[in-house]
Amino acid sequence: MNFLQQALSYIFTAANWGGPAGLAARIAEHLQYTVVAVLVSVLVAVPIGMLIGHTGRGTFLVVTGVNALRALPTLGVLLLGVLLWGLGLVPPTVALMLLGIPPLLAGTYAGIANVDRAVVDAARSMGMTESRVLLRVEVPNAMPLILGGLRTATLQIVATATVAAYASLGGLGRYLIDGIKVRQFYLALVGALMVTALALILDAALAFAVWASVPGTGRLRRMPQPLLGDEVVLESGSRSQRTSVARYEGGDPSLTVGG
């Protein structure tokens, strides 16, 4: 536990926070990679998920695509990207997108596809156009699942952005990798603690967003707790329809989040 004391005293020394290689700068770099990767993942995954969830066509594409993306190793893609495109924002963004897209795609698809059919039909019978049905009815109802996907995506990206440091790209992983390289394990522990703290803070903020997005009055009853749950729901749902139907007949959309 001596390491822990050293690490904590490092973190609580103000001098270690300033400067171009200080904790504050490293956190900013780490957040930059995270935010860019999450935004690009959202831009790619959410429209595709909305389209497939709304039309019900191409479900097979989602399941296989999600599986294939998850099977690609982030570290390999990152290092290959650095060799091909040089240092910069592109390699970490592409590599981290591989982690961000699967939960977002699965969450958006499952959210839209699980909206009560009666609600959608009612919207249609009132004369809403298809795009309005999607944007005004299906998306708000699917919001808890979409944000649940966002939460999983952000969590995985912020945790994995650590490996960017291996390719001299900075971020909090710097401490981990330098600490191991020079055998100063307390420095590695500083990195580990900071990344975990950052992940916990972001996760708590997004958990609150998921909770606040549950439509209707039922939200006070439960707190959401999705991990990879939405993807599991998607995969099991495609195989045994019974479970997802049972969940959706339960009348509470947040159940499908995986709670």
């Binding site: 099977a71 190793p73 945790a159 099991s236 049972a246």
Partner: protein
């Protein structure tokens, strides 16, 4: 691609290490999570507590956990055991939530019927509820397996073997061919394991296919 074909011996040796590091945690995770999940399924407080603990464990970045574990448990700092323990933690964290959910998917009438024909709770769990929850459980297991295989490669950054060493070696000697070979090898490995688990699940649940054929007839009769 050429690198992969000219280094098949290396690939095989690294694959064995990679599989050992990613599959042992799955087996250990299942052994912990299935009994634990079955125990907590009916107790709301315990279940919520487990879910929260699991969520927090899942938030810890893998690279951080690989490094921090030796400070908590008596292993050496760059030991394979750290990876196995860390991945076991993640696997358990995910499965311990999936098991009660899978058990929830067992229809209530089936449970009641099993009780009515005289099954005691423990035997009912082993012979009726757990087998019926296999399809949902398999779905989680596939996610865990693929995630683990990809996560082991991250360990190479801190000097742990497996196919990820091709990434670090290839990067240091500026050989993109070697990195591509590593990506292909891990991708194929993940897909193969994923497919094997899927077929394993099908073999264990012959009734799911039977009911799918039978379902339209039931609907027509109703």
């Amino acid at each position: 691609m050429r690198y992969l074909l000219s280094h098949l011996d290396d690939a095989w040796a690294l694959t064995v290490i990679h599989l050992r590091l990613s599959l042992i945690p799955i087996v250990l995770g299942l052994l912990i999570a299935v009994p634990l999940g079955a125990l907590i399924q009916r107790t709301t407080t315990l279940r919520r507590l487990t879910t929260i603990t699991a969520s927090i464990i899942f938030t810890i970045p893998s690279l951080a956990l690989f490094v921090v574990l030796p400070l908590i448990i008596p292993t050496r700092i760059l030991d394979e055991a750290n990876v196995i323990v860390a991945l076991t933690l993640y696997t358990t964290a995910l499965l311990v939530r999936a098991v009660p959910e899978a058990l929830d998917a067992v229809p209530e009438p089936v449970r009641d019927a099993a009780t009515a024909v005289g099954y005691k709770p423990l035997v009912r769990m082993l012979k009726v509820e757990l087998p019926l929850s296999i399809p949902v459980l398999i779905a989680s297991l596939r996610v865990v397996a693929v995630t683990n295989i990809s996560m082991v490669s991250v360990g190479s950054v801190i000097g742990i073997g497996g196919l990820g060493t091709w990434f670090t070696e290839g990067y240091q000697s500026d050989k993109s061919d070697q990195i591509i070979a590593g990506i292909i090898a891990i991708f194929v490995l993940a897909i193969v394991i994923d497919t094997l688990i899927m077929f394993g699940g099908r073999l264990l649940t012959p009734w799911t296919r039977a009911s799918r054929i039978g379902r339209p007839k039931v609907k027509a009769a109703a």
